[in-house]
């Protein structure tokens, strides 16, 4: 499993010892300009393509506030860009039996909780094209 995530989450994911190839890609909290946003989206593409060729699962991790545009345009563009890309990749990979999902986290979401959900979402028998929200930012708010 390829882990492009923060060191803290990486520690918990490695402890899970997830089976087989796949990708977990976490959007950075530091998107200071357009070039950084563009770079993050292209990095997600490159890693996702390699995973798609292997017909393996993909999980993107974004911040729930970014799906609603609360932390500025650049972070929002990356988060919602990844969500839409996940939906398209899910359509394309569903024919191959691979799943693609998004986890939306909050400031206080424990890394171990995120890791546990990654474990659920790489299961080929599980959901695909979904966003799982582990914070409460979306309650009573717009759906992405």
């Amino acid at each position: 499993m390829r882990l492009l995530v923060s060191p803290r989450l990486q520690e918990h994911l490695e402890a899970l010892d997830l089976p087989g190839p796949g990708l977990v890609f976490e959007a950075s909290d530091r998107v200071k300009d357009w070039e950084a946003a563009r770079g993050a989206l292209i990095a997600a593409f490159t890693a996702s393509q390699e995973t798609a060729v292997a017909e393996s699962p993909v999980v993107y991790i974004v911040h729930g506030d970014d799906l609603l545009g609360r932390r500025g345009a650049l972070a929002a563009m990356v988060a919602t860009g990844l969500l839409s890309a996940a939906r398209t990749a899910a359509i394309e990979l569903s024919r191959k039996g691979a799943v693609v999902n998004v986890i939306a986290v909050g400031d206080d979401t424990p890394a171990e909780t995120v890791a546990r959900w990654v474990g659920h979402l790489v299961d080929p028998a599980g959901p695909t094209g979904e966003v799982i929200r582990l914070d409460a930012a979306h309650l009573g708010k717009a759906l992405p």
């Binding site: 357009w34 946003a37 996702s48 798609a52 345009a73 939906r87 398209t88």
Partner: protein, 227 residues
Amino acid sequence: MTRLAVVTGAARGIGRAIGERLEAEGFAVIGVDIGDALAETSFEPVQVDLTQPEGIAAVADVIGDRRLEVVVNNAGITRDARLVNLTEADVAAVLDVNLGAPYRLCQALAPRMSAGGSIVNLASRAYLGNFGQFNYSMSKGGVVGLTRALALELAPGVRVNAIAPGLIATEMSMAIPEEIRQKMVANIPLGRMGEPEEIADLVAWMVRPGYITGHVFVVGGGRSLAP
């Protein structure tokens, strides 16, 4: 005082229809496009590449001291392929035009907008996901995030909304082979492609003073519901 609007990708298709409709509503329209077909329009033409900083600066220069009421970010491109076949260049080009340009243009023009102004971003129904459009979908999803963030950032002075069109009868969609196009239309509950003027009608309504901001209007004839 003349009301001023900027419309990108204004030389043809949806952008041209939007510009013409805004003119009919009494706006002076600055039409921005990379191609030279702007000469065929009645818009104040700005022929630039919006992926370049000097292109954005040129639009701002043309506006000058005038207050801006409406910005419509419409310019967009496609480079379609399945995810496994896309190149990094395909992804970069689509992100630069469809997402980077509207972000930078909003950054440059928002301070020039008058209170009560309105930004309309053209997303796409593909932001919900569409086979063979990983890069396009990513870029248009980003436009939705841009719209939401700017809606919060620019309130209460400027409203920011998006339109997510489905299959619209433009030169771009008419270039799709007839047989494939007919199959696409067969999956649209309303049984036809949309017309550019239908998007323009919605833009004209959206830029009137109102209580809606941060919203995405999906205009796809029901395609996002059908199997």
